[in-house]
Symmetry: C2
Subunit: 434 residues, 2 copies
């Protein structure tokens, strides 16, 4: 069976394209054209059943890319220190309820196959993974040294995850002998902060071989095409602190990812590109432009960017700032960051905070880049405020529960205002005989 | 005695300018020149004693403006519904401890004179007010109709507040018959959302007279010069929702405030300009440019901007996004917004959250606009991260207490990593024989 990109190139509007068009309020032809050109991807593994209300495991096809609403992803998953499946399923539920468009299972602890299958079974949104984590975890269990891991080990895990129904995978194909050398020659304050990137760089250092995800990229394409999953070309060389942003290693990797994206698309595989990271505000628009140009408008999936390094405990805010600017500048997909980033595996509450902060960033970005329908909800809020319709305001809010709680914890004496201004409410002053 | 601006124009470096220069790491001449040109203001009422460690009521002179670190303000104060002085003093303490550079007392409930005096007495940072609130509160107590309030009532309150030691005051001089007519002719989704602006517009509507803060602007200058307090020319016509941003009323008011700023500075009074408000991300840089150009580089004090209207409960985040972009674009002074904005008078915890979010925005902006010394702390954090020095990371954090709490609530099995990645820590992978 043809992949979506192959059908799109031949002018066929697949049912998935129609579904995305309807969800986005654009024409099916706009989606078809975007998929054909590679500026839009649709995340859904072909073995996943379609979404059916009340039945778990099926998903709605999700469009990500140019001209579409900015999407957000929530990372969940165990670590060696915290490997409680039930807790990760709670995070999945909260992430979806709070509005995550996709969820990535980044588990590195416990029974990774089981956890992933449980997450896929219980998710109504597309699921992504970073297969190299499981590759290394299994190597450790088998008492292998890192350099004893073989390309087959890597591709076997990728295949197994695809067979389970994973919809998109992060693959750090741009971490090569050349890009790592360029990074090291220039020197960095904080070296590599990508787990997958660091593992592959270490593997190359020990084995003296090229990264198989690069040297055997065609094997990756073959699996991607077979399941029509989206390859998310990871940014293993993303900067981990502001001072390392936009350095030679990072830009070199982006050039390489652009080349790989072309190869993938020519072969019928959908690709998006991952981006930084930690970055000063003033560098963000240039980075988005660079990625879009070098990767021929492939959808851009950014982690953050975090606009300062000094706010652990508040990195949902530092990344909401960067994410909003990135989205406004053209980024298509934001990976959330939670308050526990740099400190701890997130709690269920952290997941909720992270998703909401990221939704705010995405929505503010959508307004700035003129996504159809984005500002309408803000206008609706303005109307409710003018009417002093508090129930209407709460129901229009991104998190009605929290808005209601704050208002009700300190209720006003008169119901048409709030305790901030009481009778000095500016809206009320203009309506009444003050 | 000459005001700072008068001395600066004559080439004199006053002790306050030296103090600001030292705090900012710039030359006294840079400060003198900025004060003379009006691109920098120094907030300190001449009757306030200088800051002495261990003694309340004295303040360090604070510089705000071009080339200096972006400052942040925390609003506190009672409302008709919540008028507990002790609670406001707690907010003052928390605001200062969390890093607010200034605090504004916006009280509209209880004994306003008493509350303000207590706040001034207990503050180590400059205090601002919006005198029109007290004018109207006293009018209400005397059973006056709004239109019976006289210009003398207004200027008497301003004088009383200046005599108490208030360091800067918001005066909505740009809310005039002409600007309000322009706003109304164009039409708005949410009319005026400035309390002071709405009160003055209502007063003009009833009295058919011009706003005394405009028509008798020289009286205002005279008080400002006498105490050398900073006039913060309020944006009574600021947009209250995204769709009203950058409309004719708002821009007309900015033009007028620019003219008034010139008059004030010529007479020796320091001025800054207040700005929006609610605004889409893509309009923020143009608004900063417009203000700086129309007001001849007067320091720009922004409330927000809030980049979406739909996030009550999270407006510390919506305004951190807008504030960071504003600061990066040249805004000099950010007014914090708390999670309870649009819903309730803030709690003590809200004040802390608001101050930290605003500091993050200001700092991220400072890095982007190249303020000397700003990125050094981020580099220090990167070094601590590279060393896996967790105590060093916590002590470099903007809120060490919260960072420590998150890490300690979920402690790692091995002390050199965190539970997010455990043994998969990218930094550790690169340091060790993984």
């Amino acid at each position: 069976m043809d992949t979506l990109i192959e059908r799109a190139k031949r002018g066929i509007v697949a049912p998935e394209m129609e579904a995305v068009a309807e969800a986005e309020g654009v024409t099916p032809e706009f989606i078809r054209n975007g998929v054909a050109e590679g500026s839009i991807v649709i995340t859904r593994n072909i073995i996943r059943p379609p979404f059916t209300k009340g039945r778990l495991g099926g998903i709605k096809p999700l469009g990500i890319g140019g001209g579409l609403r900015t999407k957000i992803n929530a990372n969940i998953g165990t670590s060696g220190d915290n490997a409680d499946v039930a807790n990760e399923l709670k995070k999945l539920k909260v992430a979806i309820e709070s509005g995550a468009d996709t969820v990535m299972d980044l588990s590195t602890g416990g029974d990774i196959d089981f956890i992933r299958r449980e997450i896929i079974k219980n998710s109504t949104v597309p699921i992504g993974t970073v297969p190299i984590y499981q590759v290394v975890c299994e190597g450790i269990l088998e008492n292998k040294r890192l350099e004893d891991i073989t390309p087959d080990d890597i591709f076997n895990v990728i295949e197994r995850q695809a067979e389970d129904g994973v919809d998109f995978i992060t693959v750090h194909c741009g971490v090569t002998l050349d890009t790592v050398r360029k990074m090291n020659n220039e020197g960095r304050l904080l070296d590599m902060v990508s787990r997958g990137g660091a593992l592959l760089a270490r593997w190359m250092l020990y084995s003296k071989e090229e990264n198989p995800l690069y040297s055997e990229f065609d094997r990756l394409i073959e699996i991607a095409v077979r399941f029509d999953i989206v390859l998310s070309l990871g940014d293993g060389l993303r900067p981990g602190c502001l001072s390392d942003a936009t350095d030679r290693g990072q830009v070199q990797e982006t050039i390489l990812l652009g080349e790989l994206a072309d190869r993938a698309r020519r072969s019928g595989a959908q690709v998006m590109i991952e981006g930084p990271g930690h970055m000063p505000i003033n560098q963000i628009p240039a980075n988005i432009l660079l990625q879009k140009r070098l990767c021929h408008n492939a959808p851009f999936y950014v982690l953050g960017p975090l606009v300062t390094d000094i706010a652990p405990g508040y990195d949902h805010i530092t990344s909401a700032i960067g994410g909003a600017i990135a989205a406004a500048s053209g980024a298509d997909f934001l990976c959330y960051v939670t308050p526990s980033e740099h400190l701890s595996l997130p709690t269920v509450d952290d997941v909720r905070e992270g998703v909401i902060a990221s939704r705010i960033a995405a929505h503010a970005g959508d307004i700035a880049k003129g996504i159809k329908g984005a500002i309408e909800r803000d206008n609706q809020m303005a109307k409710m405020r003018k009417l002093l319709d508090w129930e209407g305001q709460i129901m229009t809010a991104i998190d009605p529960e929290k808005a209601r709680r704050i208002r009700s914890e300190n209720p006003p004496a008169e119901n048409d205002v709030c305790t901030m201004c009481a009778s000095f409410c500016a809206i009320k002053i203009q309506k009444s005989d003050f």
